[in-house]
Subunit: 209 residues, 2 copies
DNA sequence: AAATATACTGAATGGTGTTCAGTAAATAAT
DNA sequence: ATTATTTACTGAACACCATTCAGTATATTT
């Protein structure tokens, strides 16, 4: 009886240790992805950093993409947290402005993170619903806000889906064009945050009745 | 005298042949970039396709990036051609709508081309002005159109730079989110062209007085 | 005919993701 | 207590990648 309990305790400890290792790998990968970018971070580099062999990583993650998905999951949560703390004004229109500003700022402050969330190519074969499940929560935060605006008849537009798509596309367009250095003809590097924020704010204000 | 002329003729022929080879490499690369994407096309693959050794390519191009820049140049010209043929309505507002539609359609019809023009990462160290010089012409086409609109007081906005930035960001946002499969929660694959065109058109119409 | 210049090769260098036979330690079964 | 089994991990090997460069073969000049 006692032996069995002990064995169960041990096996649980093992399970915990296994999760810890997975977590160790994940956090090392996250750190390196953010510092050097996804492409420049190799499985070998990660293995070196945590002082294990490359093969070990494949005991916990199917491939490099799966590690990316894990980090993306975190990133979406981080963005959602940002929305919840920085875009909670009662007035849905003002909240919409906060969401836009928060999104753009998030992208500018976390370029590598933004990159692996929305820009870099990664086969969506494995987990087709990852972005629906994770990014989905962020998108729904926007949807809820826009729905409130439309319900209260505060906007010129009435098509919720289209409004949401436009807001997201505008914010993503601004951030991603900048992250790919395509706005050099428009503004100096140091002016970019202001210019992008102004463009986003300007767009949303056009929506208001 | 005749000998000298002949030599000059020969050296010119050689020069032509050298340009031809550079062109041969460029067009093979372009074709493969469009079919398989930039990342999946290797220097070895290109060398195989034109039946030369990998080393030969480096006699004509400094590195793979330089080959990318060459193809980007072409791509910008192609887009500008599109604008000139498909967006030439006299009425600047209608022309603006044509530009938006043309841009989005271009991205959807040439996904790999769009990718290497605006989405993939490539060090901008070498030729910082490439996008200013090439993409610049496309952007100026938009700028000219918007300037006409604003001059004739047809838009609600008056800030030319901001309007141009918004238009571009909206179009790029729509196209690039789709190319990275981020719009699955919004619309079915086959509905995407309609949805994106409607969003773009809807946005521009919001701008009109 | 000898010297030089040109065009090209393909093996080598140092990287990448991924696999897998082998090892060593811990646990379970006898 | 001894044997068998499971578990965790290794690191060399595989098939790629971009890039370099000594060597070769052909063409041109001297």
């Amino acid at each position: 009886m006692r032996g069995a309990q002990q064995r169960m305790g041990i096996s649980e400890r093992k399970k915990r240790e296994k999760i810890d290792k997975k977590e160790l790998i994940r956090s090392a990968a996250m750190k390196m992805f953010l510092e050097d970018g996804y492409a420049k971070t190799s499985i070998r580099n990660i293995a070196d950093a945590i002082e294990y062999s490359p093969g070990t990583i494949y005991l916990y993650y199917k491939d490099k993409d799966e590690l990316l998905y894990e980090v993306q999951r975190d990133a979406y949560l981080k963005m959602l947290e940002d929305f919840k703390t920085k875009a909670k004004h009662k007035d849905p229109v003002k909240r919409l402005l906060q969401i836009g500003k928060t999104y753009v700022t998030f992208g500018l402050k976390n370029p590598e993170l933004y990159d692996l969330m929305f820009i870099i190519r990664a086969p969506m074969n494995v987990d087709e619903n990852l972005h629906k499940d994770n990014g989905g929560e962020c998108f729904e935060y926007l949807l809820d806000c826009l729905e409130s605006c439309i319900d209260k008849d505060l906007l010129k537009v009435t098509d919720l889906q289209q409004a949401a798509l436009q807001c997201w596309a505008m914010a993503h367009g601004l951030v991603s064009l900048h992250l790919r250095c395509r706005l050099k003809m428009i503004a100096e590097e140091k002016e970019i945050p202001k210019v992008l924020a102004a463009a986003m704010e300007g767009y949303i204000k056009q929506l208001i009745k």
